[in-house]
């Protein structure tokens, strides 16, 4: 087993910890909702779903998959690659179960966490290296994950309803109770709000598709633009989207940390 230098001496280890730490915080930020949903009691639980195997309807399976990543907090203090890799694989495996479980398949938190977990497991084997190859592949994979999520979000909105602003009009401008949506409803007429919703929706679609090409940009541009967009989305949603976007923010900030210490050498394979 490899023992790794401390995070203060090793920016790769620090980047690993930044990514996991922010993602875990985001994962558990909705714990109260998850507990309420998973543990409604046997009289309210879903026993069977037409598509899913019954074990993916079990509240016990869901609860275990949701809470097991608590153990990954221990890896934030670990110095051995094997523990880092185990934490990454555990996080990815739990995320995958959550993506399939009847109580959580709809929550994109687990999708972003799944990719982050895979990246952590892969990067764990590279934190003790100093070669430029693994360094740049690590950055490319991290930014690739972020770009992939922008791509999936953007392409699925290329439909007339999103171009007309209809879903966002209902989901945000009519349904959200916080500022600025509550203020708009109190001070603007429906037609004006609809126009704002339309331009908001078009902006979201265009920004997502532009950011999907971030893998082809200079890395500082790509992560700066993504962090700005992710922060904007978190603020507009009043932190409700933080659980989903936390893993992507963690990855972007980890890349930012890595970019402070670019290696000069070109050596070992990745």
């Amino acid at each position: 087993m490899n023992s790794i230098k401390s995070a203060a001496e090793n920016p790769r280890l620090m980047a690993w910890r930044i990514a996991l730490g922010i993602s875990l915080f985001a994962w558990f930020v909705k714990s109260k909702d998850q507990i309420n949903l998973f543990f409604q009691g046997p009289d309210h639980a879903i026993r069977h779903h037409t598509l899913l195997p019954d074990w993916l309807c079990s509240p016990v399976v869901g609860g275990v998959a949701y809470f097991t990543p608590v153990l990954c907090f221990l890896a934030l203090r670990a110095h051995r690659a094997v523990w880092l890799r185990l934490a990454g694989l555990t996080y990815a495996a739990c995320s995958l179960v959550m993506l399939w479980h009847v109580q959580s398949y709809n929550d994109a938190t687990h999708l972003t966490a799944f990719y982050l977990g895979l990246w952590l497991a892969w990067w764990a084997g590279r934190v003790e290296r100093t070669d430029a190859g693994s360094y740049w592949h690590g950055i490319a994979l991290a930014i690739g994950i972020i770009s992939l999520c922008w791509l999936g979000g953007g392409i699925g909105k290329l439909t007339s309803e999103y171009w007309a602003g209809e879903p966002f009009y209902h989901l945000y401008f009519m349904d959200k109770s916080q500022f600025p949506f509550s203020w708009m409803r109190a001070h603007l007429n429906q037609e004006t709000i609809h126009t704002y919703a339309q331009w908001f929706s078009r902006t979201v679609v265009v920004v997502e598709l532009v950011l999907a090409t971030g893998i082809l940009w200079p890395p500082r541009w790509a992560i700066t633009a993504s962090i700005l967009a992710l922060s904007g989305m978190v603020m507009i949603s009043q932190l409700q989207l933080f659980s989903v976007l936390g893993s992507l923010m963690g990855l972007a900030l980890a890349v930012g940390w890595l970019l402070k210490s670019e290696p000069n050498s070109t050596t070992t394979p990745t």
């Binding site: 309420n36 037409t50 399939w100 398949y105 990719y115 895979l118 740049w136 209809e166 989901l171 940009w217």
Partner: protein, 164 residues
């Protein structure tokens, strides 16, 4: 070109080919990216993704594989819970609340809510998702399970050209 040459992808590959595990990682993301892009060009991908949104995929493995494809706020999705059992055609003929939008997976209005207020007769759920003219309609039944709790049964799914 200069812009691209400073991208991490270019810098990484100019250092040499990735190892096996990194290659697998790139391949997985490439497949998912191609699948996502297929929404624009391949009708079968549109149908499969609409079915995924309604948990109406033909098999669990097909659904499970699709679940790693990002689909945040995809499609125009609407869903309603109702106490009455009607056909999809009858439901669509009615004038519905236009505000019942869901960012994704509209079926969650049966699976992701606190069911303590649901009576012993259960409920029906009616769902509609649209993408570039293609529209999927699905009807669900939330019924009491003999073991206690609830069963979520998909009654039928039809694309708009299959509705009478």
């Amino acid at each position: 070109m200069k812009l691209f040459s400073s991208s991490p992808l270019f810098k990484a590959w100019s250092q040499g080919r990735p190892g096996f595990s990194a290659g697998l990682f790139y391949a997985m993301m490439g497949i998912v990216g191609v699948w996502s892009s297929g929404l624009l060009f391949v009708p079968a991908v549109v149908d499969a993704t609409l079915q995924r949104m309604h948990l109406a995929t033909s098999s669990f493995p097909a659904f499970a594989a699709q679940q790693i494809s990002p689909a945040m706020y995809n499609f125009a999705n609407q869903g309603w819970r109702a106490p009455e059992d009607v056909t999809l055609e009858q439901w669509n003929a009615r004038n519905h609340d236009p505000g019942s939008y869901f960012n994704h997976f509209p079926v969650r209005n049966l699976t992701w809510f606190e069911r303590d207020q649901v009576g012993p007769a259960g409920l029906w759920g009616y769902y509609r998702s649209r993408f570039q003219g293609r529209e999927l309609h699905t009807k669900y039944r939330l019924e009491p399970s003999p073991e206690g709790g609830w069963n979520v049964i998909r009654v039928e799914s039809k694309f708009s050209d299959e509705l009478h």
